[in-house]
């Protein structure tokens, strides 16, 4: 049993807003659903599966299914933070392969910018029944310092430098200059990044992603549905998922769940990292990208710093074009969850619909990867490999 070739991504839509004080959360979810349906050439009545995660208002999928007035026969609200939507594509493909639905809608939306959330730097207590909270919240764990500890260990273990991490932001900024919707469109230099204010050692302000309102949606459909539509065919050929935590106290910050989710996705797809023409790599922070590139096998463990340096991630310049929309680092990180935009840009690349300045030539196989939650404490990891047919 495999999902290879059992489902296609027929609709992909990224909301153009980056600040939406005048819209409700449910409204944003609905607007991205409309966008994805229009992109695919499908209607609301075609949707028979619905997927969302913790950003959706209400209990699991119930409120949004009701708001949209969908009549669905399959739902899934698995929440693994920002990686949820990559996992949803895989779960939708599984459901389609099993005959449980034919047209699966996935939505994400949020308005952390309008709500003034100190997203990355404010400790949050969470649910007190969560067993780790009493042993972590008192110490001031935030998104930023949890990722920062991963970077600090990587530097200690492998000699990675702040300048090498900065190249990841530099590459993202080179791409964002061509995206009229990107929050940060100015091209930055390594010096700009390492001279920006320190947030949590060793991560500077420009090592961090943006905080944006907005959202995105995807439609994952059965092969016969995809082939009845007028859009280029983007086929799901492999997927993997792997949560990772503190391993009972045998903490190892030198690798992420991508080691396992990536291997599973490549095995299912029957391709190698060297076959990937374009990669969407989750970029909550620069270190997130570095870790995932190593764990996915684009370079050896510990070699990530050298791999990302000197523009190797810049489309048209380097060997592995990444996040050609500007990524979370420069373009968009709606709802503090960048997973869906990772899939959307990969779909654009495979369709040949990315901005001409960043479109990868002959882009036939692409990878999208997400890390959700906190890389330094516990995180979800989801890898997706897609092929243009």
């Amino acid at each position: 049993m495999t999902i290879k070739g059992k489902a296609y991504i027929a609709g992909a839509y990224e909301h153009p807003t980056r600040k939406a004080p005048d819209k409700s959360l449910a409204q944003l979810h609905a607007e991205v659903a409309i966008g994805a349906l229009a992109d695919a050439g499908l209607t609301k009545d075609d949707v028979d599966g619905y997927f969302c995660a913790g950003d959706a208002p209400g209990m699991g999928p119930l409120s949004m299914v009701d708001y949209l007035n969908l009549r669905v026969r399959h739902v899934d609200s698995t929440d693994v933070g920002g990686s949820s939507y990559l996992l949803h594509v895989a779960h939708a493909a599984e459901a389609i392969a099993a005959g449980k639905c034919r047209v699966a809608l996935i939505t994400l939306a949020g308005r952390p910018r309008s709500e003034g959330m100190a997203t990355g730097t404010q400790p949050r207590a969470g649910n007190l029944a969560q067993p780790d909270v009493q042993f972590e919240y008192p110490y001031g764990v935030t998104v930023a310092n949890a990722y920062a500890m991963v970077a600090m260990r990587h530097m200690h273990e492998f000699g990675t430098t702040s300048e090498q991490l900065a190249w990841i932001k530099v590459a993202a900024s080179h791409h964002a200059q061509h995206n009229p919707h990107a929050m940060l469109r100015d091209v930055v230099t390594v010096a700009d990044v390492v001279n920006s204010p320190m947030v949590a050692d060793p991560l500077h302000r420009l090592d961090c992603c943006v905080i944006s309102d907005g959202g995105g949606a995807l439609l994952v459909v059965a092969p016969e549905v995809a082939k009845s539509l007028k859009r280029p065919l983007v086929k799901v050929i492999g997927a993997g998922e792997a949560p990772k935590g503190q391993l009972g106290g045998a903490v190892d910050l030198t690798y992420s769940g991508a080691r396992y989710s990536g291997a599973a996705a490549f095995a299912e797809a029957g391709v190698k990292p060297s076959d990937i023409k374009y990669a969407s790599i989750y970029d909550s922070f620069t270190i997130t990208v570095l870790m995932q590139l190593e764990d996915l096998g684009f370079c050896a463990k510990g070699e990530g710093g050298k791999f990302v340096a000197d523009g190797n991630l810049i489309s048209g310049v380097g060997k592995l074009p990444f996040n050609t929309d500007g990524g979370g680092l420069c373009n968009n990180h709606p709802a503090n969850r960048g997973g869906i935009t990772k899939v959307i840009e990969a779909v654009r690349q495979l369709r040949g619909e990315a901005h001409p300045a960043v479109q990868v030539r002959n882009c036939d196989v692409a990878l999208a990867h997400g890390t959700g939650g906190l890389l330094g404490t516990r995180h979800g990891s989801a890898t997706l490999i897609m092929e243009r047919e």
């Binding site: 400790p123 207590a125 042993f135 008192p138 204010p197 903490v251 910050l253």
Partner: protein, 130 residues
């Protein structure tokens, strides 16, 4: 050394951890160890995360270890150092590094226990250079 110590929120014990927090209030730092497989683990659980045995017990830690990783949170009213410390018992825990020069911290550095007061709750185990 001029760091102003941030106020530490109180931990909220559960039935599984009441003994741990009662011990810190009495000045003792406990770790949880499995008598079936012999391994200590962190954070403390009734059920061993390695072998799923429920034969786990509290043992007093020596309160010494080394810094596995850390980060100084600069974007805060009172900067503070979050860290993973690997205890000499062999398990690694999330904690704070306190009463020290944040700019002199190093991975691998030896540290020792300091029980730090919290806002209205039992003290939490933190560490300072040994």
């Amino acid at each position: 050394m001029a760091n102003v110590q941030r106020k530490i929120p109180a931990p909220t014990p559960t039935p599984e951890t009441e003994a741990f927090w009662k011990a810190t209030a009495d000045g003792t730092f406990l770790v949880r160890r499995c008598t079936a497989c012999g391994k200590p683990h962190w954070y403390p659980r009734a059920i061993c995360p390695f072998c799923m045995s429920d034969k786990t017990e509290w043992v007093e830690s020596k309160g010494t270890g080394r810094i596995y990783s850390y980060s100084v949170m600069r974007r805060a009213a009172e900067p503070y150092a979050i860290a993973y410390v690997t205890l000499d018992e062999g398990t690694t825990m999330l904690t704070n590094l306190v009463q020290c020069d944040f700019d002199a911290l190093k991975i691998g550095q030896a540290v020792k226990l300091v029980l730090m007061p919290t806002e209205g709750g039992p003290p939490v185990p933190c560490f300072t250079p040994a």
